[in-house]
Amino acid sequence: MTAPAIAQGPAPLLAVENLKRHYVTRGFLGRGSYTVKAVDGISFAIARGETFGLVGESGSGKSTTGRLVLRLEEPSAGRVRFDGADITALPQSALKPVRRRMQIVFQDPYAALNPRMTVGDFVAEPLIVHGLAPARSEREDRVAALFRKVGLDPRFAGRYPHQFSGGQRQRVGIARAIALEPDLIVADEPITALDVSIQAQIVNLFQDLQEEHGLAYLFIAHDLSMVRYLCRRVAVMWRGRIVELGPTDAIFEDARHPYTRSLLSSVPIPDPDQERGRQPLPFDPDALRHAPDQPMVEVGAGHFVLA
């Protein structure tokens, strides 16, 4: 079993071991029930200050993975270790200290903010919940500082989300996520819904924050070029499994799994000279079957493939 091997970096901040999430779905008119294996036994580890990319297409289980790590969903099996402590079995009430150290930024900046709460209150909420700034004035100061940190004018704290553009809302979401000064942020497709001209702003913000606070990111995305730009290591998910995991350059230049290759060949390149005449590698999903307990094989330094 290589799961622990993959999950054991040098003193990882987050280690995920053989994590599973299965849903049992019942058809509308009781047409049998079937199990959806959203996440089906994955393992990885993230070091402090590292940006770890998780890529895959819709339905691959990458977002579920992010939610499982945060215990927003309960895993069916496997464990999540955070800073060495197993948090898988902790009751929700005992999670509070852990939640201070792990936060999430969502994809849709329109759905991620409470439309009935001022953005200032929204950013201040984690401080209140954790009793970090009991005095009102202190709290306001901290919220103002957070606003400045993410590039928002603190005078906007009294406004409601609909008065902001998509990029600004995403900044609000980030301000809330870093309010507790976490060690890890799960960024669940944080730039997908943004216009191209705004994406770069947010990505740069992520990088600045990482430099300043030593944050680790679990960066979930389907935009491979941005993942390549941001992440040191990448895992490729397909149908609930990690099919390939390794250093970014190894994955992009020496992909071993057919799915990874097909994926890489499908990404359009914004250069007519290169893009013209490029043929995406075909990939027949039905031809590929992984046994449930199939181990990953190390093919290079830290480069694993589900053979």
Binding site: R67, L70, L72, L95, K96, R99, R100, M102, Q103, I104, F106, Q107, D108, A111, A112, L113, N114, P115, R116, M117, F122, E125, P126, V129, H130, Y160, H162, G173, R176, L180
Partner: protein, 283 residues
């Protein structure tokens, strides 16, 4: 959508404006009844019964809307009757709304067994023919304003509960609620700060539509003898009492009927406009 934007949008909508204006006018008029120069609504003069409406002020006692079947001033009864009708309607809507919103949020947020029990309750309530329920309750407890409010609220809570539950189910998956869980906010905090404010809008829309429905229902219950206790009037009761005279003294039934129709109409207009205003798809 601050208050200013709300009123600006209201002013821009003719229907919403008419609805809101009429509702405000009715409420004001009825509330101001004691200040207006009208006789007591219960003061009767048998010798001056069934007087037709008149604009002439030198007619006996001057009854602009005429007198009813035992000689009470119709205008006064319409104004005071409005107090009771609107108060009962508002109370029933608030009571039904409170229970419905509470249970709807609980069912939607807690899910599982809580949800199933509450939804079965809704089924039972819906399978209960409400007019008959009202009759039975009134026959068992006797008609009174309090019982009327309870009966009306009973028929109304399911509508809130269903809509609020649906909204809550959707909200529960919304990312800001997930985000609240991610910062370890308590379920109480999530329900009160994140879900409740976001279901209040649809609940408010339901409330306006329910207010209209409840006013109509009060009239029907009065017809079946389950209205408010005399001699204090409500529009429904006045309409029900006046039905015998519809052809011989039209004003006894026509004015309360008109009052009900106009109120229900304007509340509905307001409700429709609110729904459009709050509909994210239209904004």
């Amino acid at each position: 959508m601050g208050a200013r934007g709300f009123f600006r949008a209201l002013a821009a909508s003719k229907a919403g404006m008419i609805g809101a204006g009429l509702v405000a006018l009715f409420v004001l008029l009825c509330a101001a009844a004691p200040l207006l120069p009208v006789p007591e609504p219960t003061q009767s003069n048998l010798r001056a019964r069934l007087m037709p409406p008149t604009l002439s002020w030198d007619a006996i006692g001057a009854h602009p809307l005429g007198t009813d079947n035992i000689g009470r001033d119709m205008l006064s009864r319409i104004l005071y009757g409005g107090q009771l009708t609107l108060a009962i309607g508002a109370a029933a809507v608030v009571l039904g709304g409170f229970v419905g919103v509470l249970l709807g949020i609980l069912a939607g947020f807690r899910g599982g067994i809580t949800d199933r029990i509450l939804m079965r309750l809704v089924d039972i309530q819906l399978a209960f023919p409400l007019m008959l329920l009202a009759l039975i309750v009134a026959a068992a407890l006797g008609p009174s304003v309090r019982n009327l409010i309870i009966v009306l609220a009973l028929t109304s809570w399911t509508r809130y509960a269903r809509i609020v539950r649906g909204q809550t189910l959707a909200l529960r998956e919304r990312e800001f609620v997930q985000s609240a869980r991610a910062i370890a906010a308590s379920p109480w905090r999530i329900m009160t700060r994140h879900i409740l404010p976001n279901v209040m809008t649809p609940a408010l829309v339901v409330a306006t539509l329910e207010l209209a429905r409840v006013i109509i229902l009060e009239a029907a219950l009065s017809f079946l003898g389950l209205g408010v206790q005399p001699p204090w009037p409500s529009w429904g009761r006045m309409l029900a009492e006046g039905r015998t005279y519809m052809a011989s003294a039209w004003w006894i039934a026509a004015f309360p009927g008109l009052a009900i129709m106009l109120t229900v109409l304007s509340v509905n207009l307001l409700g429709d406009w609110l729904r459009d205003y709050f509909d994210p798809k239209l904004r």
